[in-house]
């Protein structure tokens, strides 16, 4: 978390201490709430430390009231290959802050590719078609929906920002700069308590080329290493600078390029995702839930089937969903699995998965609907 500014501040403090004998201050140290927030993100987000650092820094600034007034709390641009977790970071931040991973306002910029569609976002002005008929998407109420007594912070996600229309761009420049927006009805929306995330797949084709090993007679996925991440970072940033105006780039507090997930990251993602499936079952069924356990061979199989550098963790999640969750849902639907059961999932020699009930629950009189 220490950047150059913090390091120089620490060096200056150290030198001051030599002169005065005072204890040095650690400008990089986080308060209790920020540490908890950061730990929450680290426990759930794999391989994207720079994104965690950026979000944590903004949150810390907000908590201590150091974010600039009359501007959003932070304007973050997330770039990177698909499936690297750009939207996921926002979801986890929302879960950390509000206990709900959907506690943010998401605007899919692909839905506003035509300039006239901006009315859906801010409402039609008086005298125009649709005025007063449809509720605008970006309202103060929608932004503040998740505010709590203790935390008056809103999260706004502008997804696939590169697909925004010219009219949306104009609107965004004002929002990013002044932290306010005028709706069609002339009402003002205050975004000075809002952390704005923008995601983009810009450079995706070039990034895929890098990941797949570029042109050649034998196309094979490139090994994921630090130099590949550096190439992807440069590719994404160059694509962003080509596409976005300097006015837009100047309004960003931070650009984060997401790393391609390495095999060890995917192993961690696999464990997290399997734990999440178990957690869903536990939350739904209470303390007498059924449990499941995948054999090491099944985990290796899931990793093999779910690893595709082009699609990152999303592909692995899909494979887990289709091979484990579909089957568990079918077993629950037919009451073959009930509370108290322990399910072992093994790999058959023919590559199919086998679900075995390791312990039969005492009560097996669950009703079938």
């Amino acid at each position: 978390m220490r950047n150059a500014l913090q390091n120089s501040a620490a060096m200056a403090e150290s030198s001051a201490q030599k002169q005065t004998g005072a204890d040095p201050l650690d400008a990089g140290r986080h308060g209790e709430a920020t540490r908890e927030f950061e730990n929450f993100l680290h426990a759930r987000i794999v391989g994207q430390d720079s994104a965690i650092d950026a979000v944590t820094e903004m949150f810390q600034m907000f908590l201590v009231g150091m974010n600039p007034p009359d501007r959003p709390v932070g304007n973050l641009l997330f770039l990177g290959p698909t499936g690297s977790g750009k939207t996921y970071v926002v979801e986890v931040a929302a879960e950390a802050l509000f206990g709900n991973r959907h506690a943010f306002l998401k605007i899919d910029c692909a839905e506003f590719q035509e300039s006239h569609e901006i009315a859906k976002l801010i409402g039609s002005p008086p005298g125009y078609v649709g005025h007063g008929e449809t509720q605008p998407v970006l309202t103060q109420e929608a932004l503040n929906r998740w505010h709590t007594e203790k935390l008056k912070l809103s999260l706004l996600l502008l997804d696939e920002i590169e697909k925004a229309s010219a009219a949306l761009w104009q609107l965004l420049l004002g929002v990013l700069d002044k932290g306010s927006l005028t709706l069609g009805s002339n009402r003002q929306v205050d975004l000075s308590q809002t952390l704005i995330f923008m995601t983009s797949n810009l450079g995706a084709a070039d990034m895929s080329g890098l990941i797949e090993g570029g042109m050649g007679f034998v196309a094979h996925p490139t090994a994921v290493d630090a130099s590949l991440d550096e190439k992807i970072r440069r590719t994404a940033e160059e694509a962003a600078r080509r596409k976005f105006s300097p006015e837009f780039m100047n309004r960003l507090d931070k650009i984060v390029v997401f790393n391609t997930l390495r095999p060890q990251h995917l192993e961690q993602v696999l464990e997290l995702e399997l734990a999440k499936v178990q957690q869903r079952i536990t939350q739904a069924a209470g303390p007498t839930h059924f449990t499941f356990r995948c054999s090491p061979e099944v985990k290796q199989w899931l990793l093999r089937e779910g690893t595709d550098p082009r699609y990152g963790a999303r592909h692995l999640r899909r494979v887990i969903e289709r091979s484990i969750v579909y089957a568990l849902a079918n077993l629950v639907a037919t009451s073959q699995v009930i509370t108290g059961d322990r399910i072992h999932i093994n790999l058959n020699p023919d590559g199919t998965l086998e679900f075995i009930k390791a312990a039969v629950a005492a009560s097996s009189n669950a009703a079938v609907g």
């Binding site: 499936v277 869903r280 079952i281 939350q283 739904a284 069924a285 839930h289 059924f290 999640r317 899909r318 969903e321 289709r322 969750v325 579909y326 089957a327 568990l328 849902a329 079918n330 629950v332 639907a333 037919t334 009451s335 009703a367 079938v368 609907g369």
Partner: protein, 125 residues
């Protein structure tokens, strides 16, 4: 994003199914009985409703009838472990033995039929 209301008194199934639906790109809302489903239905706009047949209180067929009365354009899929059921208020009936992935295929089909204004065309299937 299409909105799906999933109704089943088995909470684990409800939760797992809604997670699968979200993974497939739907806005999925769970309801554990017909009363909860009707409250949700009145508060939000849904593109499709999937309901279990046998539930405490109002059953799935009766729920389908009420929903059809409220919004005839919203298709209802019935899922059951008790053999095929037919009715004017349901678009399709799926056996629980083989819920996934068939349910997803049927949702896609029903939604595309509904978009084309053909709700009711699938009754015979």
């Amino acid at each position: 994003m299409k909105a799906v209301l999933f109704v089943d008194d088995n909470e684990v199934l409800c939760r797992l199914t809604c997670d699968i639906l979200r993974m497939e790109g739907y806005h999925a809302v769970p309801a554990l009985n017909a009363a909860e489903a009707l409250t949700a239905f009145d508060m939000e706009s849904f593109d499709i409703v999937i309901t279990d047949l046998r539930m405490q209180g109002m059953d799935g067929l009766e729920l389908a009838r009420v929903i059809h009365h409220k919004k005839p354009q919203v298709p209802v899929i019935l899922v059951t472990a008790y053999g095929p059921v037919e009715g004017d208020d349901i678009e399709a009936c799926l056996p629980k033995e083989d819920l996934f992935p068939k349910l997803l295929e049927r949702i896609r089909l029903c939604l595309s039929e509904a978009e084309a204004g053909n709700v009711g065309a699938l009754n015979a299937r």
